[in-house]
């Protein structure tokens, strides 16, 4: 199908975009921000979304960067996912965010889709949701009252819903540099390569005195938002890595999920089973990666 009619604006700065969004809201016009369009365009074409106005961020310069500052990696919202996938800085300093970038959709989607767009879209099956929860990322948002920084915890509210107001624009996402000696793993299961995942998991941990410490286990694709599984984390924390321990943690992770999504792609029980397999694999791989 074809998108329903809308007015199109291409502001030159973030401030202009925010002012425009504010004016449209005051005029009771339903407006949407357009970034790479890789989720919004299908929604327009399928008429799942029928905004009256689109505010395109594509003509705003300086929102396209990946840099290290003050101990974190900052990525401009309009940076393409392909640039994140190809970034040597990201690969070296934040490999979890790096590996997840390359798993999103197909190359053609990553060329045009933006990093910020994936966070803002908040799809339950988006790889970045799990990365944000696992790393405790921050989102930088600009609105009529200026800038605010939102933690991943507060940013993700529900299915396709974030804490951002309709007059706010996401300008940057921040991830801490991965501390030396951290083991990490990111795994997902998709029906076909490039599809949204039926389920996926991310793990980071360190080994101290032969035991696993700072264990983080986050899963996505199973509930409205990605989440850490603290019960399973506790089982691993402070204990020596091993097959039996990881099997126990994986079992707990699977049981810890409350009402997993059940849909045409996979039943809730199947998603639970996937999480069990993925968490065990991730823990094993993360330990192997400890430098």
């Amino acid at each position: 199908m074809k998108p329903a009619p809308f007015d199109y604006y291409a502001p030159a700065t973030v401030e202009e975009a925010v002012a425009l969004l504010e004016k449209l809201e005051d005029d009771d016009i339903d407006a949407k921000v357009l970034a790479g369009g890789q989720s919004l365009m299908p929604m327009l074409s399928l008429r799942m979304a029928r905004p009256e106005a689109l505010v395109d961020l594509g003509k705003i310069p300086n929102l396209d960067y990946i840099r290290e500052e003050n101990g974190h990696i900052a990525i401009g919202a309009m940076t393409s996912k392909r640039d994140a996938e190809m970034s040597l800085l990201l690969k070296e300093k934040q490999p979890l965010l790096h590996i997840a970038s390359g798993l999103i959709g197909h190359k053609q989607i990553r060329n045009q889709g933006t990093v910020g767009g994936s966070f803002a879209h908040a799809d339950p099956a988006a790889e970045y949701g799990a990365v944000a929860q696992a790393l405790g990322m921050d989102m930088v948002v600009v609105g009529p009252d200026g800038e605010r920084v939102i933690s991943a915890d507060e940013f993700y509210v529900s299915f396709l819903t974030t804490d951002m107001d309709s007059t706010e624009v996401l300008t940057e996402v921040r991830a801490p540099v991965m501390p030396a000696g951290t083991g990490w793993s990111f795994q997902e299961i998709t029906r076909r390569k490039g599809d949204l995942a039926m389920a996926g998991a991310a793990v980071t941990l360190r080994i101290e005195g032969g035991n696993c410490v700072d264990v983080v286990i986050a899963v996505f694709g199973v509930n409205a938002i990605a989440a850490r599984l603290e019960g399973a984390e506790q089982i691993v924390n402070g204990n020596a890595p091993g097959e039996a321990l990881f099997a126990q943690a994986a079992q707990a992770a699977s049981a810890e999920i409350d009402e997993p999504i059940s849909d045409v792609h996979a039943s809730g029980d199947y998603r639970r089973a996937l999480i069990k397999a993925l968490v065990a694999r991730c823990l094993t791989e993360a330990v192997e990666r400890v430098a």
């Binding site: 074809k2 890789q38 190359k107 060329n111």
Partner: protein
């Protein structure tokens, strides 16, 4: 009807300027406004890859972009591959013919454009690299094996044509 917007862009080295409805997708713009019907449109929501074109040398889906978003951009479509003057096919097109990389041909423009990007970045790809670059293109006829063979042969042909000085890269 919403206000028309002016769009100025370059396709296959030719500059075009048109006034369009903002809701017109780029693939519809190419096909209906510019009459470049080589780019196909299948699903219109980003899953099939038939509409793949190059924007600044990068493969993108032209059904997932608005024509107005492409203002000021430089695009390449399948029409830009063969030489208009001599009618000679691009080595990638030639390879798809020789290795039977198509049957009905509906998906072919998309596969060709994804292959152009791949061989530009990775002149001598492994089979896995070929699969990674083409996983966003669907084909309902060939079963993909002959497409992978075509890309393998295309890599050799593109390199040969470069050595011979008749640079066939798009």
């Amino acid at each position: 009807m919403t206000t028309l917007q002016r769009v100025n862009l370059t396709v296959n080295g030719v500059n075009y300027e048109r006034e369009v409805d903002p809701r017109m997708t780029l693939v519809d713009f190419l096909r209906h406004e510019l009459r470049l019907t080589g780019t196909h449109v299948g699903c219109e929501h980003g899953v099939c890859g038939a509409c793949t074109i190059l924007k600044d040398g990068k493969a993108i889906r032209s059904c997932l972009m608005l024509a107005v978003q492409a203002d000021g951009e430089s695009l390449e479509t399948v029409e830009g591959l063969s030489s208009n003057k001599s009618g000679e096919l691009h080595p990638i097109q030639q390879a798809f013919i020789e290795e039977h990389g198509l049957q009905c041909g509906f998906c072919t423009p998309g596969f060709l454009m994804s292959t152009v990007e791949l061989l530009g970045e990775t002149p001598n790809p492994t089979d896995q690299e070929i699969k990674n670059a083409l996983d966003g293109n669907l084909c309902r006829c060939t079963g993909y094996q002959t497409i992978i063979q075509s890309v393998r042969l295309a890599a050799t042909k593109v390199q040969d044509s470069k050595l011979a000085g008749t640079d066939g890269s798009a």
